[in-house]
């Protein structure tokens, strides 16, 4: 990372059991996810001196409590985040703690229990900012995602195929990923025949809610050399925020804070968008994936539809996107997969879905009100 302290590496990635109705508690999921990442990296309890986690109450366990749960009695640093861009909220906090010298080996966690597609049911009264959404029957994430998809289609003259082709490509990757939950190949017709949730947003534009805990371990370059895996280095990162906290009120829905986050990330590295060979781009809703292609400069503004249609993001393409299948197929692990699969790709261990010679990759989470991206490289 240029100008932001010590060089940071990712040394371990892993998941708990991921699935619907696992019967596992949040703490059981945390223990499983942490142990999976530690086993992946050959990282012992005594090595870890920091814990970062991201989750929403009531499904929240403070980071210091995760430390106690995992037998890490003397941490130098903990951070529990209940806001921000999914896993990268915890991931960037962890990377920054390592870069700054606050801790040397930090475990970053994103545990979650499955919420239905509906999320929490709104109450009888809508307070705060919700009073300008819920009385109108608005305010659900799928609805703002539908609004963003519609705006992209209207402004850029795209058809729904723009999004469908990316979802077909991701399912092809999922078919090659034994850990994916949805692995049956689909066609563009299959996509166009799934029901609408918030037209033009279809069910196949949405991620797949699950119980899960994904974990990633960040370490100094020096410590990384001692662990089991080939280090993947963190080159740069940034958060982005918007002038409006409601996703529905994003001033420019085809840009949003993803563009400022990406610009800040690129300003802190000598690498450029042309260097990116593999990407993990948030797919809680498919319009977000296409938005990030443009925000990161993988293609020009309004060009993501053509970029996907030309095969760039598919298996064998120039910049394969969501090579594990994405959260639409591996389950809503809420951004961990976008980092974890890029790490595997840069290690060269992604098997049949490997992007040949991948040395530079990028992960990105969320859209509009809060966003983040992280650039990674391998030697």
């Amino acid at each position: 990372m240029t100008g932001t302290g010590r060089r940071v590496a990712i040394v371990g990635v892993g998941y708990s059991t991921v699935g619907r109705d696992t019967g596992l508690s949040l703490k059981q999921l945390i223990a499983q996810g942490a142990q999976a990442a530690m086993a992946d990296g050959g990282v012992e309890q005594a090595d870890i001196d920091g814990v970062a986690m991201h989750a929403f109450p009531p499904h929240f366990v403070p980071a210091y409590e995760c430390g106690a749960l995992l037998g890490l009695p003397s941490l130098k640093w903990t951070s529990g985040s209940i806001e921000g861009p999914a896993f990268l909220s915890a991931g960037i906090h962890a990377a920054a703690a390592v870069a700054s010298g606050t801790a040397d080996v930090v475990l970053a966690l994103r545990p979650m229990l499955r919420l239905g597609a509906t999320g929490p049911t709104p109450g009888a009264s809508a307070a705060g900012g919700r009073q300008f959404l819920e009385p109108f029957g608005a305010g659900r994430p799928a609805q703002w995602a539908g609004m963003i998809k519609q705006r992209m289609m209207s402004e850029f003259g795209w058809g729904e195929e723009a999004f469908g082709r990316q979802m077909v490509a991701q399912r092809e990757f999922a078919a090659l990923n034994p850990d994916a939950l949805l692995r049956e190949r689909i066609t563009l017709d299959d996509y166009m025949n799934t029901r609408y949730v918030a037209k033009p947003l279809r069910l196949l534009d949405c991620d797949y809610p699950v119980d899960s805990c994904g974990a990633v371990i960040f370490a100094t370059e020096e410590r990384a050399r001692d662990f089991a895996q080939k280090p993947v280095f963190v080159e740069s990162w940034s958060f982005g925020t918007s002038g409006e906290s409601d996703f529905e009120l994003a001033e420019d829905m085809t840009r949003t804070s993803s563009f400022s986050a990406a610009a800040d990330m690129w300003a802190r590295t000598s690498l450029t968008p042309e260097d990116v060979q593999v990407a993990g781009l948030y797919d809680g809703f498919s319009p977000i994936t296409l938005n990030w292609m443009e925000a990161l400069g993988l293609c020009g503004r309004g060009e993501a539809s053509d970029f996907v249609a030309e095969g760039n993001t598919s298996l064998g393409g120039r910049v394969p996107v969501n090579c594990d299948g994405g959260a639409t197929n591996v389950g809503r692990v809420h951004g961990v997969n976008h980092v974890a699969e890029v790490v595997r790709q840069l290690r060269g261990t992604s098997g049949d879905r490997q992007r040949p010679d991948a040395k530079v990759g990028v992960a990105a989470n969320s859209i509009a009100a809060f966003t983040a991206c992280m650039l990674m490289s391998a030697e």
């Binding site: 608005a138 609004m147 705006r151 209207s154 949730v197 918030a198």
Partner: protein, 143 residues
């Protein structure tokens, strides 16, 4: 409506938003206007996001604008809306100021007919004696 019919979720006015709901009850569409930098903003908040002034007061808007974007709700996330499907949610670009937006429902318009950029105007939905909602309908042809 039967006794067991689910009720529409109601706004809970607070000190910052009460002026808005007091206004809609009288069929006036109000937003905060900053006396220092001369701009509207929404949501209501204690300081102007443009200049941090707290010298602002509610001003009435025309209730006219255009559709910035929309979505057709095909799935209800609250029981009240289950028998209203499909319904059209819009983000309105209000005519007073570029980028001044409001989220609402478009009524008196088939979901097939809504378009980005179409002119709309406010229409008042009486819900309770306290709460009237500003919904929108396609604008009458401008003279």
């Amino acid at each position: 409506m039967t006794e067991t019919a689910p009720l529409r979720p109601l706004p809970l006015p607070d000190d910052e938003t009460r002026f808005f709901w007091d206004g809609t009850r009288e069929h006036r569409f109000l937003m905060q206007f900053c006396a220092d930098c001369k701009r509207f903003y929404h949501h209501p908040r204690p300081v102007c996001p443009g200049c941090l002034s707290s010298d602002m007061a509610p001003e009435e808007l025309s209730g006219r604008g255009t559709v910035y974007t929309y979505t057709i709700a095909e799935q209800a996330f609250h029981p009240f809306f289950a028998n209203r499907l499909p319904y059209t949610l819009i983000v309105v670009d209000l005519e007073e100021q570029p980028g001044l937006r409001f989220v609402s429902e478009l009524v008196e318009c088939s979901p097939d007919d809504v378009r980005v950029g179409m002119p709309v105007e406010v229409v008042w939905e009486h819900v309770t004696d306290e709460i009237t909602l500003p919904l929108f309908k396609p604008a009458a042809v401008q003279a």
